[in-house]
Symmetry: D3
Subunit: 275 residues, 6 copies
């Protein structure tokens, strides 16, 4: 019997109920018809033009991404903009696009849990409640370790991207309690301090919020690890694949495209290298 | 004759007129009395607690920074917050603090010009006009070069920080026209595309704006270089020192504290290292 | 030589410059690629699903409508909504959609002029200036006539729709100066009174604004004619066809679909029929 | 014993409690003194100048209307505006004005119930809850009938106005479940679709909302009947008269003025008449 | 020949053009019909119920006040509120009400000029420009005098009210340059300081703004005189009477009602009386 | 054992919990370090420059005031503004400043209770609930008295200021139920009328709100007493001193500076003196 798009959507919405998404978010079906058949599914963090090309060239029927294609409403899908070209590319190739974003962040089979697992945490609890949903996680390492070792282990556990991990704090400081929040987390420093975490793993940390957080800590914990937006969230894609595989008889692949925008770095300093 | 704070302020406001600051900005005198004498001046990008300690221990009378200490209004200077402790530390030690921020960005002896010079640009023109002030610069390299070589040369010309430079684009692509904007510049992509730049040097580039800019460029130019917020602006401090030295007989030093929040990186990939 | 979409857009934007559209409006290309060839063009007031079906079945490459398909921004083009199904229908069939809305209202070859001509007006001048564009027209009939005769003549000159024309005022009142504004015009009563018009032809007049306008007139002029939104604007489509025909060698048809939502009326009273 | 205005107000506020009005509404006493005697009451949908003249010429002490005279706050009652002339006319003639608007819409003896009864509905339930009040009604016809027959029967049951009823849908479609909402109802289409209604009776339907509702229905139900703002609400006046008559010993008349703004139509098409 | 209300309005609008009123203000005709005859005019600062009673009992046709009756829009003129009772009282007695407020403040024959004259100022210039109108006045005394003597002379020149004048500053300080602004002026302290005034005469000075202004002055000038809202503006009524008398043949009286709300004081301290 | 600032803060926050302050308020520690010792405390209504001078000259460690120094956020503490000079003066002299404002208004040992006691009230209850806190008090006098006598007794019970008390109402009217609200209370007239009070004691009453309240009362009760912002709140300082004395072994003084801005009055009229 042919699997229809609406059947896959039903499975996705049981795993990641749309009502658990933040009020400002845009989740759910972006292109496609619930009655169309689905034989191949591709998973990616972002629905970029390269990912869409990959989907077209591999005969994919459904693309599932974490990041919304149309976070801001659009008034045109003409190919003169990248967003328009993306929508047109999907529609012309009959590829449905489904987005699970903040509803996937908070779920049991979600991004925060996958990141916490990659960080080696146990006894996890929510970092904070936002719109009544559990955002981020706080947990403990199996045993205390240095910040340098923790960062190295985390790097090894995440999909690698060009910018690597940035760390703020002394490499030889000891850490045990860890807060994690995939993606951009520089509005949660107050919750992190309240949590008692020794280190906070998140991404997209800009100069001013990061520096203010370090000032508020007066040089001590919580230290910071910017694990990269893509790395800290793409770690979830295998979890998603497994959850879907156990519920659906269909081909499911993770995109081979790394949608992190960075290609290479110059002069990044390893632990111990900077005076 | 003793130099007074008001005399130094007069010189600063000729170089960086407060009326050229953006309307949302907070520039000018933050602590101090215009009638107090000034014998030693310290320059820094951020008025952090470590910088203030350095100023206290070296007998500084006036600290001049690029970033405002009190961008958001405060209702207390009690030492229970880092901002309060900073204000208290300055006032107790009789250290005046003066801020030249967006007015220093746009000036002839300003941040954008210093960054453009470090990037090796000639024939510079404003990147865009915001509130009638010339934000950022666009110029040309002496001759075309590869993106990899350009990034390496820029890294060598800027004060070094732990995260190094992040580059989006092929290392062997050729670049000649360059747009620069010190600090956080991810709201100027449209001006960059309109400028015809091959590469855009700025900082604090987050995943979504950077990726959308790359998508809009369909993989081609303008490429991106995130040079680090601190590196891309601290490059201006020698210019500031020289401009003040030529106008005032007073000791002027650049802070030895690197106020970039990052200490080290793990796994950052040099050009050619990432598949 | 093949005509490309970008060539047609050039002609349209000379006739109806996008900068003359109101700031809240959404005009221009909604679907399509500027490089695609155009051999058949269809004109319609609204891009409804029936109009899109007509375009698909008649091999149309470009649909030009007055009303925007996506006045409110959308976050999905899935076929679960009518807007999504419309976009999908256009994109799948490679049909470009171009919208000329308030920029077409104000132009010389525009909606207001077409409606003024249908009403038999001469010596037309703008009814009001909104965002510096001439909205609506005021002109004079060749000679004074009764309100009843004027309404009958106007009905005969407009494309017919099921609701006909609604008139507020005595059928035997004399009118000579006439204000017209195609589409919804119940926010222009003050300009109409200031214009000295004897009667105001527009559409979508709701109870409260219409009654308040009649109260302000104390039973006298300006009287009101609600000519129907579709009828008062579809009268422009032949003008548009003629303007394009003179500039482009391409097949151009006016849609045979009447996109007025009304099918029939019950009990509408002709002049003289209501006590 | 003389009946005082405050006694009548007490009865009205038991029937239509002011706390059940929408938060944006303006209901209650508009002119008059609670201590003035009331011997004659006039009921009308709108407090127009003609209705006020009728009240003055027939010695009325209290005018009760559905629509507020002063929905927007006023800063002057000079006779230079129609609103000012209306207030002045009432005050000079010692006529109290009382308004029961959205509180009358939702009540048991209210507008929606009166319209539902005129439509022949049984088993009525609220169409939607707005600010916790039951807006509109959904019910069933005694037996299924064609849309054409339903519209004809409804027309016969409502006070007649010049524009008659406008219908969107095929005259021979079958309808059984009916949603009704007196006055302007084009913001309730979503509730109507959710209700399972075959047809929606309301008024003041403008082109864009009506067309979008029809598109969303893909040509099928719910069909639309625009019954006219005045007709769809004036049907309630006899209910109001009866409710007051049973509570008060006083002369109560329904105004002979039809406050619908339209006088006649041209070219309205009966069922079957439009291709 | 009978004088009509519209003739009086014409004279008033030449003296105090409505376009010179602040954008938030509500000036002009509040009750009355432009065609009604005017034989007696009453002038008052506020249209209170007592003033309206005086107008009724003395056969006044037109009441002219400085303060608006309906600054906030109203939705009812029922007598259950004071505003409603006021409107009803005026309309029932056929008394027109005309308001000249901020347009009267700024005029040559206006409130600020009358207050400046009472304060004995010469060489007056505007205190500040607000919405391009000259608010308040700054001028010089014929010769320097003590703050105590100035306050005593001002008190003698103004209509007396129960609270007298409040003064902030030493009675023996010398003042020569004076800023005045009738009514509530505690948002103009910055303009006063910029004007170089030694003392600022205004009214309705609350604790916090007054104390902050005194702090900013560090105990020195500009000193403050709170002359009372009523006293500082009622001083204009004779100017108004004279201006109207020279233009119109009609009886004009100034109300005998003091509309200052205060009846008496306890314990107010004369100069020298407070330690 | 040395008393530390944090110990005093603990006592203050038990007496006046910060969570009971209004959401817009700014309470708590403004300058100082929780670990600094406290031997002398000074209490004042406002932290003016004179009060700070008194604190410095008397060796005070902690100043406690009712009014916030920094109600609006500041971006500079340079001495060029009075606020900056105040903060600098406190910090340089190591004087902590603590503010208890609206949390002190509502408390059992708070401002409203102190004012009610000074007014001689018993059986007090809250005047209104604002953000769930009891604002103001309503109570009864031991026996009915004239408004004149009540005002005289209240004046005698409050700290004296130059402007004395202003009263609106006949001196011989009888009052028994009294509403009180220290500081600016002209937004609570509706609650006062609902409370059945014969007279309302508050401060900072401006012309328009006071006059509108008197109009709404039609000349009768509730009458008004403007007791002066400073007098009506400084009455609380002894209560504060006693509460702290019973909890802490430390020197506590009430400031000798009267921070009311007014120095003297001219022409204030005692009861019976104004016609």
């Amino acid at each position: 019997m042919t699997l229809l798009l609406r059947d896959v959507v039903d499975v996705l919405e049981r795993l990641y109920p749309p009502r658990t998404a933040q009020s400002w978010d845009q989740v759910g079906l972006v292109t496609g018809d619930p009655a169309q058949p689905v034989e191949r599914i591709l998973l990616a963090l972002d629905p970029t033009l390269d990912v869409i090309d990959e989907a077209r060239s591999t005969g994919v029927d459904l693309l599932i991404t974490h990041h919304p294609l149309l976070m801001r409403g659009i008034h045109s899908v003409a190919t003169t903009t990248a967003k328009g070209a993306s929508v047109t590319g999907l529609v012309v190739a009959d590829i449905a696009l489904y987005v699970a974003h903040t509803n996937a962040d908070v779920a049991q089979s979600g991004v925060s849990e996958a990141l916490a697992a990659a960080a080696g945490l146990t006894d996890t609890r929510p970092l904070s409640l936002v719109e009544e949903q559990p955002l981020g996680r706080v947990g403990r390492l199996a045993s205390p370790m240095t910040l340098g070792s923790f960062a190295a282990a985390l790097y090894a556990a995440l999909p690698a991207a060009a910018a690597g991990l940035r760390v703020s704090g002394p490499a030889d400081a000891t850490v045990e309690t860890v807060a994690v929040l995939g993606g951009a987390g520089d509005d949660q420093f107050e919750a992190v301090r309240a949590s008692g975490a020794d280190v906070y793993v998140t991404a997209d940390l800009r100069h001013h919020p990061a520096l203010e957080a370090r000032e508020e800590s007066r040089g001590g914990p919580p230290y910071l690890v910017d694990a990269g937006h893509w790395s800290s969230e793409a770690v979830w894609l295998p979890t998603l694949r497994d959850a879907l595989t156990s519920a659906l008889r269909v081909d499911i692949d993770i995109s081979t495209v790394r949608t992190d925008p960075w290609t290479f770095t110059v002069g990044a300093t390893p632990a111990g290298g900077m005076p």
